[in-house]
Structure formats: structure tokens, C-alpha cells
Amino acid sequence: MPPKSPRPRRIIAHAPPESFVGRAEPLREITGLASPKAGRQGVILLAAPRSGASELLRQSFDELFRQRGGAAPVYFAFTRDDAASTAAARRFLHTFLTQTIAHRRDDSALVSASPTLRALLELAAPSDYEWVERLIQSFERAADEGDERALVRLCFGAPQQAAARGVRTVVMLDDVHVAESLRGEVALGHAVADAAAESGAPFVLAGLRRRMLDLVSGAAQHAGLDSLRKLHLDRLKETDARALLEGLAERYGVPVSEETRDLAVQQLEARPYLLNSVVEAAVASGSSLNSFRDFQSLYVDELLGGRVGRRFGAVLAELAPSPPLRRNLLRVMHESASVAGGKSPVEVWMKRLGADVVEFERMMRLAHVHELASFHATFVETTPGPVWRDFLNASYRLQVAVEPRALVVADTLVEMLKRAPRTMARHYRREAALNLGGLMSRFNTEEIPASLLHYDRFARMYRGVVREEVQSGLETETDSVRLPQIVHAASCASFHPPMLQFCDEERCAVAHGLEGGGYAEAEDVVWIAAEVESKLEAGRALTELWLDRLEQVAASCGFGRVRLWLVSREGFTAEAAELLSEREAYGSCREQLELLSARLGLAGEGVENGPADEFAIELPMGEDTELVAAHTVEQIARRMEFQPEDINKIKHALIEACINASEHSLSTERKIYNRFRVEGDKLVITVSSRGLSAPTAAPENGFSPDKNGSDAGAKGRRGWGLKLIRTLMDDVEFERVDDGTRLRMTKYLRK
């Protein structure tokens, strides 16, 4: 095993680099700014609330700081604590000089110190002394003169001054949306954007996306920014969010079960800030995350008095500083959220809030920026984010309905526990959905065999036929259907919210497109597709019900030419197919959908969920149970079409791994966990067990049997497991984890 390299040191990042997951691409983009090839590029980071933008910048800072000799990273976050723009400007200058000098001295301790400007001058390298001194003198002069504009310009112009002296920096300005709320005669948001655009050095401007968009291309547009690279930062992918939570839990020693981890990821919308908050709350209270109840208790505490609640509370206080106005705002938001669709006319909001136009606009713009509501010209819509809604409900009951806190806590906790299985069920259904909207959005006038849209024909021709033969049959079909060119596809509920009563959002989609000829002479058409839930072939009554529903959607939305398409996993009965034909609707089963998806080049992109790619079994140790694992992996390897010789190698390696796990772990639960993951052209097997790793009775052996002396010989004949595994598999990683051992083996498919 190669020697482990020392862990990179943390400077301002909160998480160790190895625990910072799911943001490799933006991290690479930001750190790439330090390359001399990057020139004076800038990046606008458009961050969704609680998406972890600040940590991304801090990680970027640390990574750049560790690259000695390159551009000096500077991280500065605007905060309301500065109150005035001059205070923010002064703090920026101080931060800029501290971090630049720290980098040039390779003195990371200086980053967190607060030396005076004069002390910094003493610390500056001789080559920097002159420009740092000049900058400090200019600053002191501007401060004495009380010229706010000059002071702000000077402070935020520091990177430009440094660049002019050949000192390269990458300035990362965080929470830029806060800058404009600071008091002062200078519009700081604009001043910062000006300074960044003119700095001659690479920079990052980061902030809440809705406000940053205004700054880049909206009402507050700044000419120098619209051509810059824009990075969008939203919630994590679910796999990354799971990894983040697991990593945090491991780091802080918080026990977490897989079920609770998955629930937390769903309920907390895969947002890094929220995931962090819950784990930190678990650490603070000494709780675990082993059960739904553990998690929901922490979640409710976080909402009602923890970091999450305080953060939402602070935003609400910024929106509505006076308590009566805040109560009103809570009431209106809560009531609006309870309305189906969550939308209300602007006039209603204004009247109910009792605020004048200016105050109302200010409040709504802030609510919009923080994504608590969407503020449009004529209506306001409460954001459907579940965490915000939970906070809103609890806050309404506490502050508006003035219910006893204990009752609100108890009710909220019970409600959360009752909701947990629904949340997970919703997640599973979403994962299992056929993604009809995604499929239709790829229609582009292709001509496809008609049997793919007519289940009765498909069943007649291909039922019980193997996939290869079906595909050849489709190639020879003469009857075809030309698909429309779809220009827009969205969920049916986004056109007609009442559909949510009948099915999940992703199971019914509306696609607008054009049929026949060029754009000028083509006819508009709207395809409405729905996934009908039926374990067997869908019957006539169910089919009729769905056709009626979709026709109702078309009528309600005023769609002209409409094509209805129902998809039922197992297809339709003869009577249902007859009805589909009578009403000129299409009907397909899952297999037809997969074939259609493959023809459109979409295999593996959601419509076809693809073959199962991960298998897991849990074995009791002993009693030859490794054979069970070996036979399981044999089946999987056969499905993947591994050569028989390789299948034997895989089986053997797995047997050795299981024996290793049994022999070398002082496991109290006596279980071996096997995971088999099919990843494209490779099979990845993970064998893990919990418990302490027992000291090995025999040393790691070479392959030559030792035959000198019985005892030494017996010992010499053991301890081959890991070496055998390394010979039999292509990649092998063995690691000791906190609570046991894990062996990861990979075999590549060679056909």
C-alpha cells in the first residue's frame, strides 16, 4: 500500500478537503482563475440559498493558498454587521492586505490574525513594502478627509494597485447581495462590481442567485459583468448529499443509519447548509442519527431554535424589522402557502400587510432574493421548499396564533414523523417514474414504428419475444408514426395544478410542439402523456378515467390540437386498447417506452431505468456462507457477460475476502456486508465487516510455501488471502474504517 500523503491543512475552510463533496467542477473553475493563462477573468457565482457557496469559496481559498508561488487568494464576505459601506470597505482592505501578505510569506497563521495595517506593513516582504505602504498612506489620508466615495473606491481598488505592481491575486467576494443593503452614500453593490471589473485581476463575485442575476443582466445590470463566466450552484446531487452526510457523521462521530441518512437528504433538499446544521446539532446534543425519530427531533429543534430557525428568523427580521409587520408577514405568507398553488395577487398581499408601496416592494424583493417567495409584477407565490414551509408553519403557530411552544413542538414532531414514510415513498416513486416529459422533450420529427405507440399491435407482434428479435422486427415494420418536434415540455401540474390530486408531478407531462413541414406551415400540437399506475394490464375503466382527465386538462388549458398518450407498465387489456383506438390516443407499455427511448438515443437517461446496478447481501460469518456470496456474484458476473475464467476469479476473490473478514475481525455482530455494483464495464465488489481488526496470526505471505518445520510451515501456509485477491482482481483497496474493515475489489470486463 503506498504511503499516505499528509492531509492538506485547513486554513479558512470549515470542512477538510476530503469531506467537501459534490463541488469538484466549480472548485476547479475557481481555482483555475489563478493560472496565468486565465488572464483577468472573472466568475459570477449564482448561488441558491443554503447551497454551500461560502464553503466552496473557502475551500478554493485553501487550495489556492497551498499552491505556493501562485496568485494570492483573498476571501472576503460582506456582512450586515458592518452596517455601513465604509466599514465594509475598511474591512476589505484589511482582509486583502492580511491574506495577500500571508500568502506571500506562506504564513497561514497570519490569515486568522488581526494585525493593524502598520503591523502588516512590517510583515510585508521587501518587494511589497512600497506598494503596501503607499496603499496604507492613501487609505489613512482618505479616512482623515472623510470622503466616503474615495475611501470605498480606494479600498476596493486595492487588487488593482497590487496587480499594477505585479502582485497577482484572486479576489473572492462572498455575499455580494448583502453589500447593497449597507448604509452609506455609495451604492456598494455597484462599487464592488465596478472595482472587480476594473481590477485587472481574476475575481469571483458570489451571492444569492436572484440578486446576482439582477446585477449581471437584470435591473441593476453592470456592463462589465454580463460577459463573464457564470457558475450556478444549487442543491447537491443526491449521491453527493448522502456522501456529505456520511462524511460529516463520520468526522464528528455521529452514528447514522442508511435509512435516516436517506430521509435527511430528501427532507433537507440535499442542501449542504442544512445537512451540516443537523449533524452539528446532533454533535451538540450528543444525539445519533440512527432512527427517523432521532433525526426528526433534531430537525424540529433546529427549526424552532437552532441554526436553521435563526437563519430564517434573521431573514424575516430583515424583511420586516418591526414585530407587528413581521407577524403580518408571517400570517400572509402562511395563508398564501396554504392556498393550492401558493399564488396570490400583489394587491391582496399589499392590502393584508398594510404596508405602503415602497415598503411592500422592498419586502417582496428581499423575500424574492432569499427565495422565500417569488415576486412577480402581478402576483406573489410562496416558495414550496419544505424546510421553509415547516419553519413558516411552526413560526405562524408560535408568533401569530400564539399557541404554547410545547404544543407546537409536539405537534410538529409528530407531523414530521408521520411525514417521513411519505417523504421516502415520494422519493422512491420519483425515482421509479418513467420521465415522460424528458422523453417527449427529445422528440424531433423522428419516424418510429407505429407499434411503439399502439400496445395492442405491439402485444400481438412481440409479446414473449426476446428483445433482440423485437428490435429486428421493429426495423422491418412498414407502418410508422412521425413524432412532432417538441419545443417545450413540463409537468402537467405546472399547467394545471389540480392534476397533483391524481398523480405525482413527474408522472404526467405536457409537451408543446410542431407537426409536419417547416416552421411556417407546421401545425401546433400538444402531447399530454401520463403514466397510469396498474400492476397488471390497465383495464378499460381505468384507461377511460385517465383519458377523461387528460382531455379535461386540455380543455382547461385551452390546448388546440392534442395527442393523448397513456403509458402503463404492463400495457392495456384488449378492451382498453380498443378504447384508446376509438379516442385516437396512443398507449404503450414500459417495454415499448424503453425501445422508443433507445431509438431516440436516450437509453440510460432516465426513461429507461436500466438494469439494476447494485446488489447487496448480508451474510452471517461462518458455516461456509461465503459460498452464498460466491454464487450470487457468479449470477451477476454472468449477466454482465464476464468470461468463465474471470467469473471463477471473481468468485474466488470474494470467497477469500469473506474468509478474511471472518478471520480478522473481532466482530460482535458476526456479519459480512457484500455489495456488488455494476459500473459500465466493471464490477465493483465491496466486502465490509464491523468490529476491531484482529491482529493477524500469520504474517502476510509470499506465494512460496514454507516447508521448514511444522509450526513455522503451518503459519507460512496462511495469510495468502489478500495477495490472492490482488492477483485475481484488477484493482483492490483495503482500508480500515472507524468501525471495521472494508475491501473494495474491481474486475474489468474483457470480451
Binding site: K649, F703, P705, R718
Partner: protein, 129 residues
């Protein structure tokens, strides 16, 4: 000559010079120890050559291999010879990897193994490798 199944087989009779012992479908610690016991019994009864047949064997794990090595060891010390027969290609590779093929005769089947070892058993004063 007598033929013995590893485990659950009739007791070995005295006087046979060559014995065949059958390994089970999975040679692990337990079944390896059965083979070992059977082989040691045969050797104690004067057997000078052992054939271990792997005709039913699908897998041999590293513990099984270590026990087989022990059998070879004992046989060598007693001047007896060991042959493996009907070994699958995968298991042959495993034995090669762990150096067993240098210590035993590998025969395609039991007949070939027996005839090879009979020659050895008849040879006066033969012993060792």
C-alpha cells in the same frame, strides 16, 4: 488399492500402497481437514502414494490449500508421494500460484494418476522428490 471419499467413507484398510481420496465440491477448512484426516490415516496404514481427486470440486479456498500443503508435507516426510487429479483449470492456476504444482504430480484423471504413482510405489527405495 482402496478408494475413499473425503468424510463419511468406509475406514481405510491396511496394506494398500496407493489410495484415492475424493475432495468435496468446496475445499475449505472443514472439508480440507477431512481430506487431511483421511490421507493421514492412509499414510499411517502404510500407503506410499496418495491420489487426491478433485473431480467434484468447484472451489478451493486458501485455507483448503494450506491444509493440502500440510498433507503434502507429511507425505513427503513419510516418503510417500501425492498426486492431484481431475483438477479444474482455475484450480490448477491457483495451485500454480501458490506453488503446489511443484510439490505434487498433476494428472488429468485418476487412472493416469494411479498408474504414475503405482510406478513410484513399486520402485524399490524410492522416496522423496
Amino acid at each position: 488399492m482402496s478408494e475413499q471419499l473425503a468424510g463419511g467413507s468406509p475406514p481405510a484398510s491396511q496394506g494398500d500402497e496407493v489410495a484415492v481420496v475424493y475432495a468435496g465440491d468446496y475445499v475449505n477448512k472443514l472439508s480440507g481437514q477431512r481430506i487431511e484426516r483421511e490421507c493421514l490415516t492412509r499414510l499411517e496404514h502404510g500407503c506410499r502414494a496418495l491420489v487426491i481427486s478433485f473431480r467434484d470440486t468447484e472451489l478451493v479456498n486458501s485455507i483448503g490449500v494450506s491444509i493440502l500443503l500440510g498433507v503434502i508435507d507429511v507425505a513427503e516426510r513419510r516418503g510417500a508421494r501425492v498426486a492431484f487429479s481431475n483438477v479444474s483449470m482455475h484450480t490448477v492456476k491457483l495451485f500454480e500460484l501458490l506453488g503446489l504444482t511443484r510439490l505434487v504430480v498433476l494428472a488429468e484423471d485418476e487412472e493416469v494418476a494411479l498408474s504414475t504413482l503405482k510406478e513410484f510405489a513399486r520402485a524399490p527405495g524410492s522416496g522423496g522428490h
